[in-house]
Every structure is written in structure tokens, then in C-alpha cells.
Amino acid sequence: MTVYAHTAVPRPVKVSVRTTGFWIMLAVSAFGLWVLQHDFLPVVAAFPGSTAIDLLVLGMSLAVALWLARRFLRPVQAPPWSGTWLALMWGAFGACGLALVMNGVLMSAWSKALGLEASGEWAAALTAPVNEEAVKTAGVVLLACVSTRLVRSAADGFVYGALIGFGFQLMENFTYGLNAIAMAGGVDPVGATGQVLWVRILLTGIGSHWAMSAVAGAGIGYLVSASGRTAARRAWVAAGCLALAMGMHWLFNSPLFSGGIAGVVAKPLVNFGILVVVYIVVRRGFRARFAAVAAEEVALGSLVPVEVASLSRRRARRRYLRSFGAVRVAQERLQQLQLDLLEERVPELRDPAAAEPWRDAVAAAREGTLVDRPVPVP
């Protein structure tokens, strides 16, 4: 009788519900949702037309945000869906609700301390960069505590920061759309909501919350990553990224350079430029490390050069798979296991031997002895 040895697929938990971070994210998001409904549910009930257009735009914006974040903002492959939804939830409910409470306190303090005229010009610039960047960045830190696998590099921090920022921006747009009704004296509520959404999405959306928190998130990703850099250096980089994000927010809200439509458009473009620079640095670092571990795995014999050549880019992977015709499904599974193996090797200080279950799975998938039974992985 022939006895076959089978290897199971290593499937580590991406989001662990048995962590303090997860329950804090859930509890704070529930609190934020309560704050938001307390402030806006009566407006929603009183103005169903504005709410409908607000929800429609929110849904479309969410689709665009998901496509952008998952297709472009993380090198090699998209973040897992569990982390994606958790980040969006924190941004939309936890961060937005908390910021609403904190901003209410600090804005009124500036009104009293600075006087009517100065606070009218500067209160937003002195409030939002501190409170909003703090609560959004806190979300990236909490995501790093929810699982040891969600945030392991600056690239992870960048994409989760962007997702939290998107969640925040979508919810803020929703509330601004409702606030616009009162600012228009209740006249043509749908038109008032539409005007505000148009400005906030098409004119300023490109350099708003998602750009700022992506920059801060990259710093947190670098801080918690096993990159082999000293703790002091990682802390300084994280602090620098948070300060840069706050600076971007300050520029966005400050009365300086605000003249006319050019000012309204120029500031978000400056923020977008900073985002692109940070993205290039983060992406280059991630891809360099990915290429290095891919070369090591080729040397170890777990990957072959022709496979590695196509692994790091989405389009190249699809092109490679197309050449397999009927056996494409099996090859796609093998490709995903190879990606998982290399992702496991990206943290620099991680012992290469710890990736052995993934190497075994790749080997088993080639031999046809891989079973789809997940095994617990630390």
C-alpha cells in the first residue's frame, strides 16, 4: 500500500478577535457611531432627499476608495479584506466620532481664548491637525495590535493609514453634506448638499484625510516593523511622519494661501505631491526587500527564477497565469502560496526558518500533495 504524506495550507489569522486592540477598535467605533447618530440622525430624518444624495455619493466614493487603496496603494498585493474593513470602520466611526467630540471642546476653547476674529481664521488650523491626525493614527497603531500580520512594514502602515483616512473623509463628507443644509438656510437642501460634496470630492478630495493619514501610517508601519533599524530611529521616523501629516493638515485648514479657487485647489495638490513622494520611498523599500527575499528563496530552491520574475507585479502575474491555459487554477493557487511565502519573509529580523510551513506548502502544491485544510500558524 502506498502512503502519501500531505501538507496543509498555512493560514495565519489576519484579524484576531482575541486581542485587546480589536475590542478597543470595536468599542470606540461603537461610541463614535453613537455620537454621529446623536448629532445627525434628526437631520437625516428631516431631510431625506439630501440624505439620499449623500448616501449615493458616499457609496460611489467608497467604491473608488477601495479600488484605489487595494489596487495601487500597497506594492505587490492588496491588504486582506478583514484589515481593509476594520480600517474603514475605525476611520468612519471611531476616528470621526471621537474627532467630533474633541474638536467641539478645542474649537470652543480657541473661540474663547483667541477672540472672535482670530479664532474664525485660525481655530480650524489649530484644532483639526492635532485631534484628527491623532485619532486616525491611533487606528493604525491599534491595527498593528489586532494581529501581528496586518502591519509589518511601512507599506502596510501606508495603505491602512490611507484606508482609515478614506473612512474618515467619507463620513466627514456625509456630515458636511448635511451641515450645508443649515448653512443654506434650509433653501434647496439637495442643491446645498450637492454643492458641498462637489467641492469636497472633486476640488479638495485628492489631498485630504486619506493623503495625510497615509503619511502618518507609513511612519507607524516603519515603527512596528522588524526592519532591523534601531528603536530610536524607527521612533524618530514615526514622529516625523506624524508631524508631516499634521503639517499637511495645518496647511489644508490654515487661512494662508487661501485666495480664490487657486488656493482651494493648490493646497490639496501640495498634499498629494507629498503623498506621492512618501509612496515612492515606501514602495521602493518594500520592493527592494521583496526582491532580496525572492532571490534568497530561489537560492534555497523553493522558487524558480521564471516564477519570481512575474511575482512582484499584478499585471505580470496575470500574464504569467494566462500562459497556463487549462491548468491555470492550480498555478494560481501555487502563485498565491509563493506570494504568501515571500510576504512572510519581508520583515528583515524574522528568522528565515519561520517561513518553513510556507516553503513546504509551495513544494506540496507543486507535487500535488497539498490539502486545503488550514493549520494554525503563530
Binding site: M102, S108, A109, A182, D188, L223
Partner: protein, 195 residues
């Protein structure tokens, strides 16, 4: 470093999230202490003219003993002036397109739906034509929100695309003199010509 390559492992997975909550609470507490250390209202010298709204084109001249509720006021959109039990709220509104006086009044009534949805009684009476001492023509009507009542005013600028909406509210039994002083505030509202 943890087995999976992330610095938040072991006991840190408990301590770090708690520290995050702690930092946010400390930030909120510090801001609350700062806010409480500031005076709630600012006494306004008699005959002070306060500009408000976009480009501060609208203005109001404040009489004796009025206090500006700084926490509730924003020079770009809203002033709240208080004297005793009488509260005057002046909101600068910008319409999506030039609006007729009837549409403005309907809009104000529609906004009161927000109060009604919260279970608060809110009534806006029929409008009557009104012109203040500064020569701004608009509308005036009775207003009741909860257990406070008074007058509502809409004073549009010459173009009809922006307006000042005023609500004067006081508890029942407030003296005529106090209400007359509040009406004097509304009488002083004026618009600067757009340049």
C-alpha cells in the same frame, strides 16, 4: 521581535492598545481643562459693531449689557448674544442660488424639522414684511422652540443670495424692555456692499 515580524507582540499587545486609549483620553482631558480655563462669555462694550458671515459683510451693533457666547459663535457663520434670559442667534446663510423671500421663510421652517424630529415643539408663524432701522427689508414672524418663544427674522442682502437669519428667544414672562433691546439688535443689522 515577534515570530510574525511585528514589534507589537506578547504583553505589548495588551499594553499598547491601552496606552493608545490613555493618550487619547489625556489629550481630550487637556483640551477640556484648557476650554474650562477660558471665560464662557465676553462682555461687549456698548455700541460695538461686530462683522460676521462670509467676508464679514453682515454687521450688528451691540447695545448695553450684551454678552457674546464665544463658544457658540463663529465669526464666519454665527453669532450668539445673550442678555439675562434673552438669547439672540444671528446666522449668516448663503443660498445655493438666489432665493425668493417665501422660499427663505419656508427654508427656515424646514430647518425647524430638525428640532421637531428630536421631539421638541417648534412653531414658526406666518411671515410679515419687516424693514429694520438700517434699511434692510425682510420678514418677521412669531417663533417658539420648546418652552422659549420670541421672533424670527430673515434679512436678505440686496442680491438675495445671502441673508442673516435671526432668532430671538426668551422664556415666557420675559419683560417687554428686554425683548425691545433684543429687537434693537435686529434693527442694527446691515450689509456692507460687495466690492
Amino acid at each position: 521581535m515577534g515570530a510574525a515580524g511585528n514589534a507589537v507582540y506578547g504583553r505589548r499587545r495588551i499594553r499598547v492598545p491601552l496606552a493608545v486609549v490613555g493618550v487619547l483620553l489625556v489629550l481630550l482631558a487637556a483640551e477640556a481643562v484648557f476650554a474650562r480655563s477660558q471665560p464662557d462669555g465676553v462682555g461687549v462694550a456698548p455700541d460695538t459693531v461686530i462683522g460676521f458671515g462670509p467676508d464679514q459683510r453682515a454687521s450688528v451693533q451691540v447695545g448695553e449689557d450684551w454678552v457674546l457666547d464665544s463658544a457658540s459663535s463663529d465669526v464666519n457663520s454665527r453669532l450668539v448674544l445673550v442678555r439675562g434670559d434673552v438669547e439672540v442667534e444671528l446666522s449668516s446663510v448663503t443660498f445655493p442660488a438666489a432665493a425668493s423671500p417665501d422660499a427663505m421663510w419656508e427654508g427656515m421652517d424646514r430647518l425647524l424639522d430638525i428640532e421637531r424630529r428630536q421631539g421638541v415643539t417648534a412653531r414658526l408663524g406666518d411671515p410679515a414684511e419687516y424693514e429694520n432701522a438700517a434699511g434692510v427689508a425682510g420678514m418677521q414672524g412669531d417663533l417658539q422652540i420648546g418652552d422659549r418663544s420670541g421672533q424670527a427674522y430673515i434679512l436678505p442682502d440686496a442680491n438675495g443670495d445671502t441673508a442673516v437669519e435671526a432668532q430671538v428667544l426668551a422664556p415666557a414672562g420675559t419683560g417687554d424692555r428686554e425683548m425691545a433691546d433684543a429687537a434693537a439688535l435686529i434693527d442694527s443689522i446691515a450689509f456692507e456692499e460687495a466690492s
